[in-house]
C-alpha cells in the first residue's frame, strides 16, 4: 500500500515537472514567427507531400529563415494517421486547434485535401483570423460562391472575413477542361465515378455539367466505396452501358488503382475505353497501385503546368530543387514553394507580428512575381489568377505531357 502511495506521489511530481517544462514561456513577445504546414505525411500521399514540404523549406531557406527582424521557424505537421492511411478528420482538427493556441503561428500552409480544409478553415477563421495558404486544394466550394453546395463558401467563414487562399486553380476549371478534352478526343458516351469525398465528388460534378454542355452523353454518375476490395461488379455494369470514356473524380488513396485494374479485368482495355482522372491521381503512387501494365494510356488533367513543361524561372527552380534534394519533385512541389514565398512576402509587407495584418497582406498579394509561377494575384475570394491547365497521359509508366487545356 505504502509503495502505491509513493508511486502516485512520484507520478504527480513527474507530471508537474512536465507541465512546467511545457508551459508557454510567459507573455514576453518573441521575434519568432512560425509558419506551419498541415499535410498528409503518413500514408501514400507522403511521396507527393515530401516534395511539397521540400518546396516550402526551399522558400524559407532562401530567406535564411529571416524576414526583417523576425526569425521564421517552419514546422511540418501531419494531418494523416497510419490507421487511416490518408488524412484523418480528427488529426486535421487537432492541428488547426494547435495552430490557434500557439501565438507564434502566423501562417498555416495547407491543406492538401479539400475535405480537410473544410474542417480547419472555420477553426482558423475564428482565431484572428489566421491566414491559410493552400498549395493543393482544388475544391471550388471552398472559395467560390455558387460553385459548390448551398451555403458554400460562406459557412466556412463564421467571422465573415476570408482567411483562406490557394495558389492552385480550382476544379471548376479543371473539371471543365477535362470534359472539353474528352470532347476533343471524340468521346461521345461517358460514365462518371467519384470517391464521395469533397474533392472527388466536386470535380466529378463539374465534369458532368460541362460534359452535358459539350453534348456528350452522360451514361451515369455514382460514388464508389473507397474501401471495397474490388470493383468487378461495378465495372461489369459500366461495361454493359458501353461507354467510350470513364472519368474518375478522386484520389489514389481512395482505390483508384483497383478501379482501373478491374475496368481492364472485365474487358475494357484502355485503348477501347479511355480512363481519365484529375490531379488526385497525378502521382507515382497511382502507377505503383495500378501496375505499370495497366496504366498505359490513362489520361490525367492537372491544374497547372506539369514538371516536364517548366520554362523560365520554373525551370531554374527545378534545377535548384534537384540539386538541393537530389530527387525529382512531384507536381505539387512547386506550389509548396510558391505558397512559402507568398507567406514570407506577406510577413515582410505586414512588418508586424499580427495575424490580422498578415492576413490582410496575403490577400493584398498583387502581381506577385517573387515566386516561379509567373506574375499573378489573389482575387477577392483568395483564388489565384493563373488559369493554365495541362493534360497528360501515362506512357511507359511515366506521366507525359500531351496538351495545354483551357486556353
Amino acid at each position: 500500500m505504502k509503495s502505491k502511495i509513493l508511486l502516485s506521489i512520484l507520478l504527480v511530481a513527474l507530471l508537474a515537472v512536465i507541465a512546467v517544462a511545457c508551459a508557454p514561456a510567459g507573455p514576453a513577445a518573441t521575434n519568432e514567427i512560425k509558419i506551419v504546414s498541415s499535410l498528409p505525411r503518413t500514408g501514400s500521399s507522403k511521396g507527393q507531400t515530401d516534395t511539397v514540404v521540400n518546396g516550402i523549406k526551399m522558400a524559407v531557406d532562401e530567406a535564411n529563415g529571416k524576414v526583417g527582424n523576425f526569425t521564421i521557424t517552419y514546422l511540418d505537421w501531419d494531418d494523416a494517421t497510419a490507421a487511416a492511411g490518408k488524412w484523418d478528420p480528427a488529426q486535421e482538427t487537432e492541428n488547426a486547434n494547435k495552430a490557434v493556441a500557439d501565438k507564434d503561428v502566423m501562417v498555416y500552409i495547407g491543406t492538401f485535401n479539400s475535405g480537410a480544409a473544410k474542417l480547419s478553415i472555420p477553426i482558423l477563421n475564428a482565431a484572428g483570423p489566421l491566414v491559410m495558404v493552400s498549395p493543393a486544394n482544388t475544391y471550388p466550394g471552398l472559395t467560390k460562391p455558387g460553385k459548390g453546395e448551398a451555403g458554400e463558401p460562406d459557412k466556412y467563414y463564421p467571422s465573415k472575413v476570408r482567411n483562406y487562399t490557394r495558389v492552385v486553380p480550382a476544379d471548376d476549371i479543371q473539371g471543365a477542361v477535362g470534359a472539353q478534352w474528352a470532347k476533343q478526343l471524340k468521346a461521345t458516351k461517358v460514365y462518371i465515378l467519384d470517391d464521395q469525398e469533397t474533392y472527388g465528388k466536386g470535380i466529378a460534378d463539374v465534369f458532368e455539367a460541362e460534359a452535358k454542355k459539350q453534348g456528350l452523353t452522360v451514361l451515369g454518375h455514382e460514388g464508389i466505396d473507397a474501401k471495397a476490395a474490388d470493383y468487378k461488379a461495378l465495372m461489369t455494369k459500366v461495361k454493359g452501358l458501353n461507354p467510350d470514356l470513364i472519368y474518375f473524380g478522386g484520389i489514389t488513396q481512395n482505390n483508384a488503382g483497383q478501379l482501373l485494374k478491374d475496368k481492364i479485368n472485365v474487358g475494357m482495355a484502355n485503348d477501347k475505353v479511355i480512363f481519365m482522372g484529375p490531379d488526385g491521381i497525378y502521382e507515382d503512387a497511382f502507377i505503383d497501385a495500378a501496375g505499370k501494365a495497366n496504366v498505359e494510356g490513362v489520361l490525367v488533367t492537372f491544374g497547372g503546368v506539369t514538371v516536364d513543361q517548366y520554362t523560365g524561372k520554373a525551370k531554374d527552380w527545378l534545377a535548384a530543387y534537384k540539386k538541393k534534394f537530389n530527387a525529382d519533385p512531384e507536381v505539387y512541389a512547386i506550389y509548396g514553394y510558391e505558397a512559402g514565398k507568398v507567406a514570407l512576402d506577406a510577413i515582410a509587407r505586414a512588418g508586424t507580428k499580427d495575424r490580422k495584418a498578415i492576413r490582410d497582406a496575403v490577400f493584398a498579394t498583387k502581381d506577385f512575381d517573387k515566386g516561379v509561377l509567373g506574375k499573378w494575384s489573389f482575387d477577392a475570394n483568395g483564388d489565384t489568377t493563373i488559369l493554365t491547365m495541362s493534360g497528360s497521359s501515362i506512357k511507359g509508366g511515366k506521366f507525359v505531357f500531351s496538351t495545354l487545356l483551357g486556353q
Binding site: 490507421a83 455514382e222 474487358g267 505503383d288 497501385a289
Partner: protein, 361 residues
Amino acid sequence: MSQQRKWLNGLLAIAVIYIVLLIGPTAGLDIPRVAREIAANPETLLQQMLVGLANGSIVAIIALGYTLVYGIIELINFAHGDLFMLGVFTSFTVIGLSGVDEKSSSSETIVVVLLAFVVSSVFCATLNVFIERFAYRPLRNAPRLAPLISAIGVSFILINVGLFWGGLRVIFPFMGNNAAAPKSIPDLLPRFDLLQAMGIQTNIAFTSKDLIVIVVASVLMISLRFFIQRTRLGKAMRATAQNRDAAMIMGININQVISLTFLIGGALAGAGGLLVGLYNNTAVFTMGFTAGLRAFTAAVLGGIGNITGAMMGGVLIGIIAAFSDQYFSSRWTNAWVFAVLVIILIFRPTGLLGERTSDKA
C-alpha cells in the same frame, strides 16, 4: 413455436417490409426499374451472380477463420482479417523475389504459385499459433471482453507490420517507393474466357481466373469440413467446442486442440491471401480491415461457429454486393449487405444455420 411467437414474427415481418420499402428507395431500391432491367437483360443478372460467387468464395475462406475460432473458444478474433492481409504480403513477397510476371512460362509460374501457397500458409499458420499462445491463452479464463480487446490490439500490431513490410523496399525493391501505397501484384493466373472457349455465344464473361478461385475455395472448404467431421482430431475439436471441461476429462489435450484450430485458421488466411492477391492483384496494408468486416459479417450471417454457415454467408454476401452494385448503387452496397444481415438476425438471431458446433445455453 408458440402461437404468440408466430404472431410476433408476423408483425416483425410487416414492420421490416415497411421499413425497407420506406428507406429502400433512397438507397436505389426501385422494384419496377430493377425488374425491367432484369427482364431486358437477364444475362447481366447471371454475370453478376458469377462475379458475386467468385468474390463470395473469397469472403467465405476468410469467414472460416472467424467461425473456427469462435466455435472453439468463443472469441471474435479481430486480428484474423489482418492476418489475411499479411498472407497477401507474404505471397507478394515470394512472387516478387522469384521475379515471375505475366510473361513468364507457365511451368515457372505454377512452381512459384505453389511455393507462395506453401510459404504463405505456413507463415500465417505459425503466426496465428503464436498469437494464440501469447495474446489469447493467458486470458482464456478472464472475462470475455479481455481477449476481445487483446484481439483488437493484435489487429493493430499486424496492420503496422503490414505497413512496415510495405516499406522494405531496400530488401524488396518490388514494394515500390511508398510504404502505404497499394502495391500491384503481377497477374499470374491464366485468363481466358471459358464460355467462349466452349463455343457458347454469350456476353457473359466467365474466365479461368474466376473458375480457379471458386474451385480452390470450394476444395479448401470441403476438405476442412471433412477434416472436422471425419477425423479423430476433428472430433477432438468438436468435443472441445461443445464442452471444454468434459473434453479435458476425456483425455483431450485442450491446449493442443486450440493451437490446432488457430493453425488451421491461419493456414486458411494464408491461402486466402494468395488467392486474393492473384485475383485482385493488389496488396495494401489496410485491406485486412475491410476483408475482415465482410468475412465477419458472413460468419455471423451463416451462424457463427458453423462452417457450412460461413460458406453460405460468404457466397450470399458476395452475391448481394454484386446485385446491389448492378441494380442499386455502389455507394449503398455496404448498407444493403448489412441490412440483409440485420433482417436475417431479426428472424434468426443465431444466423442462417444456427450455432451448431458450439454449445451455448
